[in-house]
């Protein structure tokens, strides 16, 4: 056990941070403040991500045959940490790069890999995810959206929500029911231009662009849109969610946000209050715990250690840190939600559902209790 970064990792971090400092435009933070899933962000990422791709910094951990650099998992996380230091200028590309791509490599046909992996690796295509429904969030088995075999392909009917970036997306990674039994679901790769698909944004506590409803009204998709085997979507999702759960280095953005809140408090002469300072110190400790636990997850992945609850432990630790930071903001800088500080509002609204997304807080705790502590299934 040792926690030092190797020289090659330090060099890699320098390469990434140097690129971002040089290539991000001067008005990047103005774009960021318009909101994470906005049209402006999506358009920015279409312009910026190809530059990252050209520099070999979009999919470095992917195999060379798919447009990557055969990089190791640590490089992926160093890259993620550095882009999150700037508020994630990759925008929606985190989905394609972090988990849709690896899922396609594992389960896709050669044709699917050929079409989609090149697209993701180019940085030009935007993907969205079609998982949740009004009655099926964490309990994905309750989904209603159906994909029925029509002799040539599938006909999709139903509705998805919580489909970040779908208004601007080229493709959607869609989960749909293909049989009457609970686990008979399948994954489809669907072109968002297919007739019958309608995106309806609507407002909510998260920022604009996350909560879109996507309606599927007799949408005909080819058989080649099916990813993996029919009815085996559950297995694919288990693989996919494992990537999604540890995909975001929330601690980087959280600590950056806390620094921004402290800057404001200092400027207003309010950061000498020891109660406020101690509260801020405790949040640092929570984020640092989340950081080292995230590194533990990466280490397990590199060493092919499977089936542990470290990803769940890391996710809850990060979520608790985010919740404490949001509460701190409401104690000391509540004006951030009334136009006083767009950066802080960005974090607040971005994390408002962090205990729900990618497997609710309680599901993570169940996993820790059952698989980590050996307790029986709860009732």
């Amino acid at each position: 056990m040792e926690f030092a970064w190797s020289q090659s990792h330090l060099d890699y971090r320098k390469r990434v941070s140097g690129f971002l400092e040089k290539e991000l435009p001067a008005d990047w933070f103005e774009t960021l403040q318009k909101g994470i899933a906005t049209k402006e962000q999506a358009e920015f990422s279409r312009d910026f991500c190809p530059k990252l791709a050209d520099a070999g910094l979009l999919t470095p951990q992917w195999p060379k045959e798919y447009g990557g650099e055969d990089g190791e998992a640590w490089e992926q996380f160093i890259l993620a940490e550095e882009v999150w230091r700037w508020g994630e200028p990759r925008g929606p590309q985190y989905m394609g790069v972090n988990w849709i791509g690896p899922t396609l490599m594992r389960f896709g046909t050669e044709e699917q890999k050929d079409i989609h992996l090149k697209g993701i690796a180019s940085g030009k295509l935007v993907w969205s995810q079609g998982f949740s429904e009004p009655q099926a969030g964490t309990d994905l088995g309750a989904m209603q959206t159906k994909a029925e075999w029509n002799g040539q392909g599938y006909t999709v009917n139903g509705m998805k929500l919580w489909t970040s970036y779908s208004e601007w997306a080229d493709w959607i990674f869609l989960l749909a029911r293909t049989g009457p039994e609970r686990k008979q679901i399948s994954v489809f790769l669907v072109d968002m231009k297919t007739p019958g698909i309608q995106v309806v944004p609507f407002p909510g506590l998260p920022e604009y662009g996350h909560l879109n409803e996507v309606y599927f009204d007799n949408v005909h998709i080819p058989a080649s849109a099916l990813l993996g085997e029919e009815h085996k979507g559950w297995d694919i999702m288990a693989f996919t969610l494992n990537f999604e759960r540890v995909g975001l280095p929330r601690y980087i953005w959280g600590l950056r946000t806390l620094d921004i809140a402290v800057e404001q408090l200092k400027a207003e002469g309010r950061f000498d209050d020891p109660i406020c300072r101690a509260a801020a110190g405790r949040i640092v400790a929570r984020f640092e715990a989340a950081t080292v636990l995230t590194y533990a997850v990466v280490d397990e992945r590199i060493n092919d250690i499977q089936g542990t609850v470290t990803p769940n432990v890391q996710r809850i630790t990060a979520a608790q840190a985010c919740l404490d930071l949001m509460s701190f903001m409401m104690d000391y800088v509540p004006d951030c939600l009334t136009g006083g500080n767009n950066f802080l509002e960005l974090f607040y609204r971005g994390q408002v559902a962090s205990t729900i997304a990618a497997g609710a807080y309680e599901i993570q705790l169940d996993a820790i209790a059952q698989r980590g502590l050996g307790m029986p299934r709860g009732r």
Binding site: F271, R277, V313, G378
Partner: protein, 323 residues
């Protein structure tokens, strides 16, 4: 970065565990007491070189932290944090142990004072190394699961070795690493003990472990113990002042939660001395206020990240009390 133990570290851990397996219970005569200081364990660890590990060539902070963390899982107590993690960073020469760390009011009851040969005293602007005269110490009964005692009369500090102001920061830093290791180990043992109990104890026709309300809270305890362990080991490895403050902050701010939940799920049995739980929980409870407590660690975290407060801020040394 590598989270798996290397060969050396694995050997150290296995060696300590081999010794500890003979100390998994409190001897019968002390079984219903508040605490039990195990001279047998102390001697066994000493004989096998584990208490000198902080001064052993080839051994680093991680090895030292692993020893402290593992020993803290035993229901018996043994002074190890100060000896293994603190003293080697203060003095090139060996300091007679067991060691009692003192900050705040010198005349209040102190952890380990009844067994200590040396007291290391944080006066705020100096660190004193004081030989302890056993005749000047009286034991203090307490529900904390450590031996506590106080000086009968104020000791003469003129005879103490003075390490100087430069030793204050390292003392606090390494005392924080040591307390985080001890909290991590004792929390782990208390949680495992509680999980086992919930699997056996039935209520309304089911074991306690089958209730989701129990699952969720013990799962939260588990992630706290994992977080404290990871931060403690990293702080021991890095020797970084900020990392020590993070580890202590995270450990101390979460003590109440783990103590409450582990006791809650041991029910009425958990508050009797017939049960073993208090041998762990009232050790980490005793650490809640050490080295400035969670507020002190959190304030130091803030100072180290954002700079010290302005001139009008409260004098924390005055609040803490001088030795």
């Amino acid at each position: 970065m590598q989270f798996q133990l290397d060969e050396n570290q694995a050997a150290v851990l296995a060696g300590v565990q081999a010794i500890l397996q003979h100390h998994q219970d409190v001897p019968g005569a002390h079984r219903r007491g508040w605490s039990y200081y195990s001279m047998e364990l102390d001697e066994a660890l000493s004989r096998n070189g584990y208490l000198d590990i902080g001064r052993t060539e080839g051994m680093g902070g991680v090895e030292s932290a692993l020893v402290v963390l593992e020993a803290a899982k035993a229901p018996v107590s043994v002074e190890i944090g100060a000896s293994v993690l603190v003293a080697p960073h203060l003095s090139a020469t060996e300091i007679p142990r067991p060691i009692c760390l003192i900050s705040g009011d010198l005349m209040k009851a102190q952890r380990y004072l009844p067994v200590a040969r040396t007291a290391i005293i944080d006066t705020g602007d100096d660190v004193l190394v004081l030989p302890v005269d056993p005749a000047n110490v009286e034991a203090v009964e307490s529900i904390f699961a450590y031996p506590f005692g106080r000086f009968k009369t104020r000791p003469d500090l003129a005879g103490a070795q003075r390490l100087g102001k430069a030793a204050v920061a390292p003392l606090r830093q390494w005392a924080r690493v040591a307390l985080a290791c001890e909290v991590a180990g004792a929390m782990r043992a208390a949680i495992d003990f509680t999980v086992d109990y919930t699997k056996q104890r039935k209520m309304f026709g089911s074991t306690l472990a089958a209730y989701q309300a129990v699952h969720h809270r013990l799962a939260e305890c588990h992630l706290i113990a994992e977080g404290v362990r990871a931060l403690a080991l990293k702080a021991a490895w890095s020797g970084d002042e900020s990392e020590a403050a993070w580890a202590a902050t995270y450990a101390q701010m979460n003590i109440q939660k783990v103590l409450f939940d582990t006791h809650q799920f041991n029910g009425g049995m958990g508050v009797t001395n017939e049960h073993k739980l208090h041998f762990w929980t009232y050790r980490f409870r005793a650490l809640q206020a050490e080295v400035g407590g969670q507020s002190g660690a959190a304030l130091d975290t803030a100072d180290l990240r954002w700079g010290p407060p302005g001139a009008g801020a409260i004098d924390r040394a005055a609040v803490r009390g001088a030795a």
